[in-house]
Symmetry: D2
């Protein structure tokens, strides 16, 4: 299959279940909501080495937030235990501390709930108040008063949706990946948790040589090893590959993001080949077929 | 003491020792160095609830980096054990994974050293190479090759340098704090680790009411509690306060950042009072007197 | 009338007809579309001293552009003669020269059309090609090939929609104005052409003292002149005012932007009063009443 | 000559005299100084079709500005008559109108001076005041008071310093050009006036086919015309070229910027060839030889 002259590999992305929490951060201006969201979603690229995966889903206008201020929707993805702990810590350390912010539950219809009890920070001076129909706690702080909900929905979502952007050289592949990330920015319900949304060093599970490593370079996808390893997956003419990893609130959003991302990447001159990562289908229950995205 | 009509409180900031590691991240463009640095220094506002404190010290031109590419200097601050673990994890998850990055030791003269052994990720395909006089490992990855040093200097620095910007209303205090952060951006050797560099909810150690809390709101500095608590430190006419917290490689850098920050904050209309946080001088060995900064 | 405790003055904004051209700029990534759009819409705040008024209406995803790439919608506002000349010059100098850009007509249904004939730049090497159903010219250039439509729709729109954000001090008023601009960013069909969307020095027509001046400071709205001029329009307790000026493709869009902007501004602490500018209703055919926006 | 494996053509850039005015814009924060500077330097890529050439020279800390606030240094380049007219109009429309700005002369030692008389806008309410040793006018405006100098130095500088970045494909050449612009950002005394600092469509004087055109595509440097025109200057293996055009306060600054830019561009993978534009040396008095930059 080809789109815009670029081959779409006949393969699928293998993805996994994850718990997802959506936090709405509002602030006096878009900029301050964004700065708090950036801090709260940092050091959160991959569950392998980070305490969770997190990212900014999108910016929100005042019409879309409970308190009528501009905001930012953020997704946190991890196991149920981890998501509970990480949302609490990240909101406490990175949002409650940020200028003018408030936080609201972004999944009010979810049955599963987690507590995010920040009001103890108020040391007894805190009190309850309804804001935009939401039951919030108000905590006196140095800038004035912090307002936040303390009960958040979580849903079973999908982590590890992915595709590979391969190019005739590194800059072509990188700009293809960037165009993909731009396009995914317009899709609801998903994040790309890696730096700038792009993975430069996709990994395989475990290591052949160093048994203590939980993950190591995926040599079959390393262009400089093309002639050195058996079964290289790097097509002729490709000298660089980037992976886009997508987490989302459901399989449909992740598939939609993959389709939008691939459509954008193939528009970039020098992008040659699109593929996706899987583990033979034995591990993840979600198999998102590339060709089916475009049929 | 007054500067530009703003009262500078007769007090001092109490600060504490910390270990500091400086990592130089380079990339194909400034933008990509910055994106990797942002991810690597996220979720790192306060050692109370984050695994470390971290931030961007400054951008570097190609003349200032070992490989001649644009870069970003990043500081990580924590206990020796934590700094070792966090620099490894954050470089592995947030920089090795980021497009086109390389990492170099930013404190080559420091006697104390920590290992950041990423080369096992190469699964045996890695090799050594000298870049800009630095002994590096080259790891084949999907985008091509990652290059990085694996031995980093750490020094005993200073954490918790601080001052308070108080204003006649919230927006004046916030813009004063922003102007301070802008100015501190021009000082070498320091970071402001909180979101956008500003703390909206400065805390005290422990809690009077909730014994299980390690920290809670500093009610003496809460403007809305001014009439409700004894010994409020909020002067008449102040309705909002922000704290700027500064970590640095030595006391001189932190003091310099405090001076530059305060000089900038008092230029902002509506800023009324500058103070600083201390614990009576019993805890931290560093006492940075506000008035001495300007004499 | 009050919203969120802020008085909305019982007055109206007086606005004027203008011709409006919408240009769609696409590029390899959002960033490059944005950079071209920024350059093309600079030096275009006010028709009084700039050759036109211009601004960025919004970012577009690949689904919304003729060539499937990310883009930016830009509005140029001026008299018919000026809009013709300015769109040609600005696209030629600021978009054709920018990396990877293409331009498309953003008002394909408009009856009134203007030519933007850039293909002569091709010196005979240019050729025609259909892209996304649009008849384009392809011009060989140093980066490869530039693609663009050369026939653009223009419509009779509305210039000078406006409101004033007044605050108890300058920073409160400024952040209120910023929140308004953020909110207007979500409204289709409008731009705010001043720097950052905000006017610090609203003017009156002509000058009382200097007869050669086409415009001068609007002393009735100058807070520092409140006690010095007769009929000051600055309410007690206000020490700063900003004007938000809105141009749009029709009266409805402009009114919608005014409503969204005011709703956002009144959420900012320290904002005290919202008014609007008019000339007694003798000049502009459009009178947009503030109270009617919220009824 | 080769640097980092990239051929540096044995040629020179031909540049021309221009008058240059440096304006220092300060504001309450870096961001507001930057926003005003962006607007003031827009629609100013090339003297061929824009009223002047302009750009941001660099950001300034409070230690570097007359009023101690953060700022931005901006250069305006044109003939003496045009520079006079353009600085007046651009400061009046894009800086006086911008929130919290002040302007100061950035070339106080220059003998040649131009007036920028904005104080008539004050309609008689304006008054004089010394700020940071500079004689300024204060104009009452809606946000409070605008402060600015009205006498600016201009010097005879150099326009049209340039080099070409050629790549094996478009994205490699573009990222090479971007790296060059990043590096030039660190050089004092220069600007790159095109969108994002990069020219995608370098031109030749006049047109062979369309006699009414003052400039047209430089077909000898068009990669898609390599086989169609005689004497193509595009080397084998190159499919895209970008031009970096530099204006500066003197020849040394421009040469320095060229050297820094080229050094950065050749670090980017896929960049193959560096050249420069000249007209046979008959026109411009400045001939900046590429090889001499590195000897």
């Amino acid at each position: 299959m080809e789109i815009n002259g670029v081959t779409i590999d006949n393969t699928y992305a293998e993805a996994f279940p994850t718990w997802v929490c959506r936090v709405i951060i509002t602030a006096v201006t878009e900029e301050w909501a964004y700065k708090a969201a950036l801090e709260a979603t940092g050091f959160a690229t991959s569950a392998i080495g980070c305490p969770c995966e997190a990212g900014i889903e999108g910016m929100l206008t005042g019409d879309e937030t409970p308190d009528g201020r501009p905001g930012c929707a953020v997704l946190f993805c991890a196991s149920k235990k981890k998501v509970k702990e990480q949302v609490l810590e990240r909101v406490a350390e990175c949002v409650l501390t940020a200028p003018t912010t408030a936080v609201f539950d972004g999944l009010p219809d979810a049955e599963e709930r987690i507590p995010v009890k920040l009001h103890f920070f108020g040391d007894g001076y805190e009190y309850q108040k309804e804001v935009g129909g939401r039951k919030c706690w108000v905590i006196p702080i140095m800038e004035g008063e912090y307002i936040g909900e303390e009960d958040f929905g979580i849903v079973k979502g999908v982590a590890g949706g992915n595709f590979f952007v391969m190019g005739e050289n590194q800059m072509a592949a990188l700009m293809g990946a960037q165009a993909a990330v731009d396009a995914i920015g317009g899709v609801c319900g998903v994040i790309t948790s890696f730096p700038g949304g792009i993975v430069a060093s996709g990994s395989k599970v475990g290591s052949n040589k160093y048994k203590f490593m939980p993950a190591s370079t995926n040599e079959k996808y390393c262009p400089t090893l093309r002639e050195k390893v058996a079964d290289s997956k790097i097509p002729a003419g490709v000298t660089a590959a980037y992976e886009i990893v997508i987490d989302g609130i459901d399989e449909e959003s992740v598939a939609d993001a993959m389709a939008e991302g691939i459509r954008a990447a193939v528009m970039v001159p020098g992008v040659k080949f699109i593929s996706a990562g899987n583990f033979g289908g034995n591990l993840g229950p979600f198999k998102i077929d590339l060709h089916s995205l475009f049929s």
